[in-house]
C-alpha cells in the first residue's frame, strides 16, 4: 500500500514538472500562441453562430430549441477541450509508431501510456475550454436551469466521463497504427464526426445509427444522454443517474483502450531494426 502511494506521489511529481515544461515549450514560438488563441475560439464561435443561423432558418433542430442546443453545444465543447488537453496525442500515435519514438518511453521506469500522454500535455487546449464554458453558461441562462449542488456534481461527473470516452476513442484509433504499420492522421475526421454526433441531438439520426452510437461507439453518452437527463428532455434514457452512467462508460472505454494499446505495444518494433 505504501509502495503504491509512493509511486502515485512520484507520478504526480513528474506531472507537475511536465506541465512546467509544456509551458516553457509553448512560449518558444510566439506566433504559434497567437495562432492558437485565435484559431480555437474562432472555431467554436463560428460553430455556435452556425447553430444560431440554422435555428433561425428552421425554427428548431429535432425539437430542441436554441437554449437547449447551446447547453448541449457548450458541454460538448468543454469535454472536447479537456480531451484535447490530455489525450490529443492519440491523434498522432501513428507517427510515434513509425518513427520509433516509443523507444524513448520504453526505456524509462514509468507507464508508457502515461508518458505518451503526459509528457506531451497540450496546454493550448485551454483556448477551447473558455468558449465552451461561455456557451455553456449562456445555455444555462437560456434554459433557466436551477443550479444546485446535485446539478454541479452531475455536470462534473459527466464531464470526467465524457473526456474519458473521447480519450479512449482516440487511443483506440491511434493504436491501430501498431497493427497496420502506417501513420494515419484521423484527427480531423474524428473531430468532425464527434462534432456532428455530440453537438447536435442524437435523436435526429435514424434508429440504427442511434443504436451504433449508443452501444458500439458510445459517443451518445458524451453529451446527448446526460444533457437530455439534465434538461429533462424525454428520450431513450432518463433519470438523474445518467451522468454517472457516462462516467462508467468512460472508465470502461478507457480500460478497453488501454488493453488494446498494450497488445499493440507488444507488437511494436523499433524503427531501424
Amino acid at each position: 500500500m505504501k509502495k503504491a502511494l509512493n509511486e502515485f506521489i512520484h507520478y504526480l511529481d513528474v506531472t507537475a514538472h511536465v506541465i512546467k515544461m509544456a509551458f516553457m515549450t509553448i512560449i518558444e514560438y510566439p506566433a504559434n500562441i497567437a495562432g492558437w488563441m485565435i484559431s480555437n475560439p474562432l472555431q467554436f464561435i463560428m460553430g455556435f453562430a452556425i447553430i444560431k443561423f440554422v435555428v433561425e432558418s428552421f425554427g428548431q433542430i429535432n425539437g430542441w430549441n436554441y437554449g437547449q442546443l447551446a447547453f448541449l453545444y457548450g458541454l460538448s465543447v468543454i469535454s472536447h477541450a479537456l480531451s484535447m488537453i490530455f489525450f490529443v496525442q492519440g491523434w498522432f500515435m501513428g507517427y510515434f509508431v513509425i518513427e520509433g519514438e516509443f523507444d524513448r518511453y520504453l526505456t524509462r521506469p514509468l507507464g508508457v501510456l502515461y508518458q505518451f500522454f503526459f509528457t506531451n500535455i497540450n496546454i493550448f487546449g485551454v483556448t477551447d475550454l473558455i468558449p465552451g464554458i461561455l456557451v455553456f453558461i449562456y445555455g444555462c441562462v437560456k434554459c433557466s436551469v436551477s443550479v444546485n449542488l446535485l446539478f454541479i456534481l452531475q455536470v462534473l461527473i459527466m464531464l470526467v466521463g465524457a473526456t474519458l470516452i473521447r480519450g479512449g476513442i482516440y487511443i483506440l484509433l491511434g493504436s491501430t497504427s501498431f497493427h497496420t504499420g502506417s501513420a494515419v492522421d484521423f484527427g480531423q475526421y474524428t473531430q468532425e464526426i464527434m462534432d456532428k454526433t455530440t453537438m447536435y441531438p442524437l435523436s435526429m439520426y435514424p434508429e440504427s445509427m442511434q443504436f451504433i452510437l449508443t452501444y458500439l461507439i458510445p459517443v451518445g453518452w458524451i453529451s446527448f444522454y446526460p444533457v437530455s437527463s439534465l434538461l429533462g428532455i424525454e428520450g431513450r434514457y432518463n433519470g438523474m443517474m445518467i451522468p454517472f452512467v457516462t462516467l462508467a462508460v468512460g472508465i470502461l472505454v478507457m480500460l478497453i483502450a488501454g488493453a488494446y494499446f498494450n497488445t499493440g505495444l507488444k507488437k511494436y518494433e523499433s524503427a531501424g531494426n
Partner: protein, 263 residues
C-alpha cells in the same frame, strides 16, 4: 514540364502505397457524409423549401461537397513547414527546378491517386446510401468544371500562402488550423451560407472562401440562374488573379530571404 510530370508520377505511387490509409479515409468520409445527410433530412422534416433549396438538392449538395473536399486536399503548407523546420529548404532551392512547382506537382499527383481511391468510392456509396447525385441541369456542366478548376487553384494558392508564413513564423501548426476552420465554416462546405442572415452573407460574399465550395456546388444543384453563376465566376476569376499576383510576389520575396540566410 517533364520533371514535374515525374514528380506527379512518383507521388501517385507513394499515395497508393498505404492501403489502410485508403480504407480508413473512405470509411471516415462516408460516415461524415451520411451523418450530414441525416442532419439535413431531420432539419427538412415537414418542409419543402428553405432558402430556395429543397431537401433533395441539399442531399446532392452534401454528397458533392464530400467529393469536392477530396479534390481540395492540399499538402503544400505541411511540406513547406517541414522543409523549413528541417532546413532541407536550402538544398531544395538549389535544385534546377522550382520548389513551388514541385509542391504543386505533388499535390496534383496526390489528387490523381485520390480520384480512384476516394472520390469514386464516395460517389458510389453516396448514390447507394443517400441518393444519386445527379446534376440539376447538365448544360451547366462546362461552367461547373471551370469553376471547380478555379476553386482548386484558389484553394491551393491560399494553402501555399499560409505555408510560406513558415519562413517567418517557423511553427505554423496553429495558422494551418486557423485556415482550416475559416475554410470549413465560411466556404459553405458544411452549411451553405444562404442559411445565414443577409448581412453575414454579404460579408462572406466579399471573401474568397465561398468561391471555393459554394459557387461550384450551387451550379451543380442548380440554385440560381445562369447569369448569377457567370457573375459569381467573374468574381471567382478576379480572386484567382489577385491571389496569384500575391503568391508570385511573396514567392520571390521568400526565395530572396532564404538566399540571404544561407549566406
Amino acid at each position: 514540364m517533364k520533371k514535374y510530370l515525374y514528380v506527379v508520377k512518383t507521388q501517385i505511387i507513394t499515395s497508393m502505397a498505404y492501403e489502410f490509409n485508403v480504407y480508413g479515409n473512405i470509411i471516415m468520409q462516408t460516415i461524415i457524409m451520411i451523418t450530414s445527410a441525416y442532419f439535413w433530412k431531420a432539419l427538412y422534416k415537414g418542409r419543402d423549401m428553405v432558402g430556395d433549396v429543397d431537401a433533395d438538392s441539399m442531399l446532392t449538395y452534401v454528397i458533392m461537397s464530400s467529393v469536392l473536399s477530396v479534390l481540395l486536399i492540399t499538402n503544400v503548407e505541411r511540406r513547406i513547414e517541414r522543409s523549413v523546420d528541417r532546413g532541407t529548404v536550402a538544398t531544395d532551392m538549389m535544385k534546377p527546378i522550382n520548389i513551388f512547382g514541385v509542391y504543386f506537382a505533388e499535390d496534383i499527383g496526390n489528387i490523381l491517386a485520390l480520384f480512384f481511391q476516394n472520390m469514386l468510392p464516395i460517389i458510389l456509396i453516396g448514390s447507394l446510401m443517400i441518393k444519386v447525385p445527379a446534376m440539376a441541369d447538365i448544360r451547366d456542366l462546362p461552367l461547373f468544371i471551370i469553376s471547380v478548376a478555379e476553386s482548386f487553384l484558389i484553394n491551393w494558392i491560399i494553402a501555399a500562402l499560409f505555408g510560406m508564413m513558415a519562413f517567418t513564423a517557423f511553427n505554423i501548426d496553429a495558422l494551418i488550423q486557423v485556415k482550416k476552420h475559416l475554410l470549413r465554416l465560411l466556404s459553405g462546405s458544411i452549411i451553405p451560407i444562404w442559411f445565414f442572415p443577409p448581412a453575414v452573407q454579404k460579408v462572406l460574399g466579399s471573401l474568397p472562401f465561398v468561391y471555393i465550395y459554394q459557387l461550384p456546388l450551387s451550379i451543380y444543384i442548380g440554385r440560381g440562374s445562369r447569369a448569377e453563376y457567370l457573375s459569381g465566376m467573374k468574381i471567382q476569376f478576379l480572386w484567382l488573379l489577385g491571389l496569384s499576383a500575391v503568391f508570385f510576389y511573396v514567392q520571390s520575396r521568400v526565395v530572396r530571404k532564404v538566399m540571404v540566410q544561407g549566406g
